[in-house]
Symmetry: C2
Subunit: 584 residues, 2 copies
């Protein structure tokens, strides 16, 4: 163990890095940011717990210890972790699959989901598997986030209407609303709609108003972000004063246990782990992608860098912390991180201070939340997630690439129609499948010499010199198992038409790889052309590809030569000057 | 329907093509080939049915109607379809998964498997999805065939020993043999070992002997291929004469129904289809790959071409034919097709004649098979499949590419350890995964000008000119979702080190694609470099990539320029001559 050096410690414990230079100034900045984020997080944490189908206090618990873990293990200076909308929706879907009804079992399942997700993320971090997140293409993420926003908003309609609704798909949720619309509580609708309207106004109209009143832009911005707290306070007060929960069917948060998070243990039932594993994996990857993109955006603004593999460890330990302290899956949230950043957070210590703030709220404020209407929380969620909905990606991809369009459209439709897990899995598989399909039919151009130059261009696009004894094909793709048969078919079908042919030249300037399958195909092609009395030549082979080819017998068997430049090959072979195939 | 022309007919019915020129000469050649293949197929069909865990007659039935279907719909002139070793093993594994014990149910399940596989293949053919087979890389196929050969040989040891054994994995089979070795029948072992030794000798020693006796090479070859018939005849006779099945525990084929194949219907139980679908899919793809590679090899020898998508239809209809005539999954077999080819088959009609031959055998010869020992059939299988086992691919890939080596080794180990379906699925997924992993970390070279030329080369490999205000990076991979983050990280980490930097040039001669994710990354990179006062330029962008970029706003936002040649960019920008970034 002597090899564990200070550097290893700093790699796994970024806190050692920034704590060295921590001083009173940084602390003041962090404290101010923490106060503002705490005020924003309290209603948000309650609302997202509701969205996940969990007791409100689990949202608070998920905003305490996980923040401390991230402050120790995370590399972003401004990222604020905690419950977020999409992850809460995925938690609801994962728990929904289990068909549980006992609230205690549901809470344990949510904690276990966080624990599995934490273990997956931590292991990925230690094994440096952060690149796996790259397989979520931008269009798939954009489609998924948009569809999730719609699903979340639809799922919250039940709280605005004051009815019970089930379902994790858009048709399911809408159908269920339609069936139960008769039970609508008018007073709940009034509270929900007013709260939603107020929050929309806060978002769009409050800031300009405050600016006109002479507030500084940053202060106006922060006040506008605190809007939900106002809505929570007013609607709670009104509900309590008029006893709306008694006579008007207004559903309220009710009793929230007072005190610090309990120490909880995830379940280690193999059956539960089996049922939750795929959900935890999807949730981990989505959470990681969301969190890293926020962290990278904020880091870039201050010319800082984050370490994606260490971020996995930061998020992993946060989720494990959530699991052992009565919480549920968490990740870095966009809105709260931006607020944290704008409020001046300098180090992850701001997250630690926020944790203390939320802990104080859990200790002292929970009795005040008793009369908080669910409709108010639903309103904060709806207003927050509608900003996620953005269909412009459909237009953008349609114009740019139909393949990418297909991936977005399929992800949106499948997420809405079959739920988040099916949607995102199908999106990833479709992206990979379409990419492989594209590369399995590479662009191959027949080229000729541009007269008076040493350049060779596509004979279909340019006026070029050719020679009836030579065919030159430029292959515009790496050669690997999925496209070798295509190349073989292409070359052989091209060759059978030409009678006086003596040379086939393959130009490899864009071939970055020749795998074993491709090597065997080239060997086969070389043999078959040899049988027809045609020599096979290669030109402009890249260094790494050439190094690789030299390790096989292919170059010994090649009937033709390998030329550095296509022009050299042309000069050597044109007008039948070249060496003929050994077979002829 | 007026658009169905003669050409459409010929596409889907290749028989219309070759039947036009069919004459007495071709017919004679086809008849001779058919007789020889029939003699070879009778013991083989029985043996493979045994391997699949099915009654012997199903092997014969699978060698009648499917051959007729292929003669009508197939495009290869010499391919001989029927039961083959690997597909029989996969059938055994698929049926084994169902846990059936009733022989009738097992037979129905085997027919249903053939039917589903036939439907899958036919649909793939009509939709021209033959390229899907390309995702089985050569190393995975080689590893799978080798491991299957070992598994098959191991599974046949039970017949040589005369004991009952279960299991579809190597540890399973060997463990089961070890447990039951006490029940070994000595006389069965004597028959089995003698038959195996005889067949090995036929394969290695008979042909040279016949050649020495003055036979023509082709005749000697064909006689050697008929060896199994001799082994069948002799061991059947011995078993009958001495009543070995009564007192010596020699298991025999027993009663084989006499007559033509019965008309059977596959099951349409949704549950059974569900259980068999994945197996049928794997079996279809493996069968197609095996069959197409045999067909292509033989077609190339006569400068003929096969049509892979039509081959799917040929194999699909063959399997449907097998399903409705008491058979089980079939595909084009290597050994029998080579014999057919060598014996002079000119058209698929040879397959039709072979079908008549096998039908006559089913009508007339089945009583003679009553005393045929299972051990003899096992011996024919063992000798046939050991030629599939070839570990040289391990050495070949080890030298050439560790990634390909990993794919072969994993396929072999997983097939042996967890069965054929797990093995081949894991092999395919691993090939794709490793390919994506490789392309997700593209080779990026920093280049400089080779003095006195217009060429730019890697600064690490060559003595080149550079300029402190310019960094030129050549990206050696298409840019797509899996590697865009890598590129962004690479460029930004490279840029932060250099202070006087004004220009970043990305050279794209090997970039064959820029997908939506990559486009957004380039836009982001452009913005971030702009914030640092650095201009981003592109050079040597390929035509199709440029066409695509022009459809986005990227070129309007680009802070630098797009140069046709890297040298032009160099001349325009070096020594601080270039236009600065708009931000600076």
């Amino acid at each position: 163990m002597a090899r564990i050096t200070a550097k290893t410690f700093t790699r796994y414990l970024p806190i050692l890095d920034w704590a060295k230079t921590y001083n009173r100034d940084t602390m003041t900045s962090d404290l101010v940011a923490a106060v503002i984020v705490t005020i924003m997080l309290i209603p948000q944490s309650l609302a997202y717990a509701l969205l996940a189908g969990l007791p409100a206090e689990m949202g608070l618990y998920a905003s305490i210890l996980p923040l401390v873990a991230y402050a120790i293990f995370g590399t972003s200076r401004a990222l604020a972790v905690g419950p977020v909308a999409v992850i809460s929706l995925m938690t609801a879907a994962a728990i929904g699959n289990l068909g549980l009804t006992d609230p205690l079992e549901i809470a344990i399942a949510a904690g276990t989901l966080a624990f599995i997700s934490g273990v997956i993320l931590t292991i990925m971090g230690v094994l440096r598997l952060g690149f796996l997140a790259n397989f979520l293409s931008h269009p798939v993420i954009a489609g998924f986030i948009t569809a999730s926003g719609i699903l979340i908003a639809a799922s919250q309609l039940k709280h605005i209407l004051g009815i019970s609704v089930h379902g994790h798909t858009l048709p399911g949720v809408l159908g269920s609303i339609w069936e139960n619309i008769g039970q609508t509580s008018i007073v709940t609708v009034i509270i929900g709609v007013s709260a939603t309207a107020f929050l929309f106004w806060v978002r769009k109209g409050l800031k300009p108003l405050l600016l006109k009143k002479g507030l500084k832009p940053r202060m106006a911005d922060i006040l506008a972000k605190a809007g939900p707290v106002g809505a929570v306070a007013v609607t709670t007060l009104v509900t309590w004063l008029f006893g709306l929960n008694n006579w008007a069917g207004v559903r309220i948060v009710g009793e929230v246990p007072m005190g610090l998070p309990p120490l909880t243990l995830p379940s280690f039932s193999a059956e539960l782990w089996n049922s939750l594993f795929v959900s935890a994996l999807l949730l981990s990857i989505i959470g990681f992608v969301e969190s890293v993109s926020v962290a990278q955006t904020l880091a870039a603004k201050k010319r800082q860098r984050i370490v994606p593999d260490q971020e996995l460890i930061g998020l992993g330990t946060s989720n494990i912390a959530a699991a052992i302290s009565g919480g549920y899956p968490v990740t870095g949230g966009f809105a709260r991180s931006v607020v944290n950043f704008d409020a001046g957070a300098e180090t992850p210590a701001a997250g630690g201070f926020t944790a203390i703030g939320i802990a104080l709220a859990a200790l002292l404020l929970t009795p005040l939340l008793y009369f908080l209407p669910n409709a108010t929380l639903a309103a904060t969620i709806i207003v927050a997630v509608l900003s996620l909905v953005d269909f412009s990606i459909l237009k953008k991809t349609w114009g740019y690439s139909k393949v990418d369009f297909a991936a977005v459209a399929a992800t949106i439709v499948l997420t809405l129609g079959f739920g988040v897990e099916t949607g995102v899995s199908a999106g990833v598989l479709l992206s990979i499948g379409l990419h492989l399909y594209k590369t399995s039919r590479p662009h191959v151009a027949e080229v000729g010499l541009v007269p008076g130059t040493q350049h060779f261009r596509n004979i279909l696009r340019h006026e070029v010199e050719t020679d009836p004894t030579i065919i030159t094909l430029r292959v515009d793709e790496s050669l690997y198992f999925a496209n070798t048969r295509f190349l073989e078919d292409y070359v052989l079908s091209r060759v059978t038409c030409d009678q006086p042919l003596k040379h086939v030249i393959l130009m490899f300037p864009a071939v970055n790889e020749v795998d074993m399958s491709a090597l065997e195909t080239l060997e086969e092609l070389n043999r078959r052309l040899d049988e027809m009395g045609i020599a096979l030549h290669l030109t402009e082979v890249k260094g790494p590809v050439m190094d690789r080819l030299k390790r096989s017998h292919f170059l010994d068997e090649l009937t033709g030569k390998v030329f550095l430049a296509q022009y050299d090959a042309w000069m050597a072979l044109k007008d039948g000057q070249g060496p003929l195939s050994k077979a002829s």
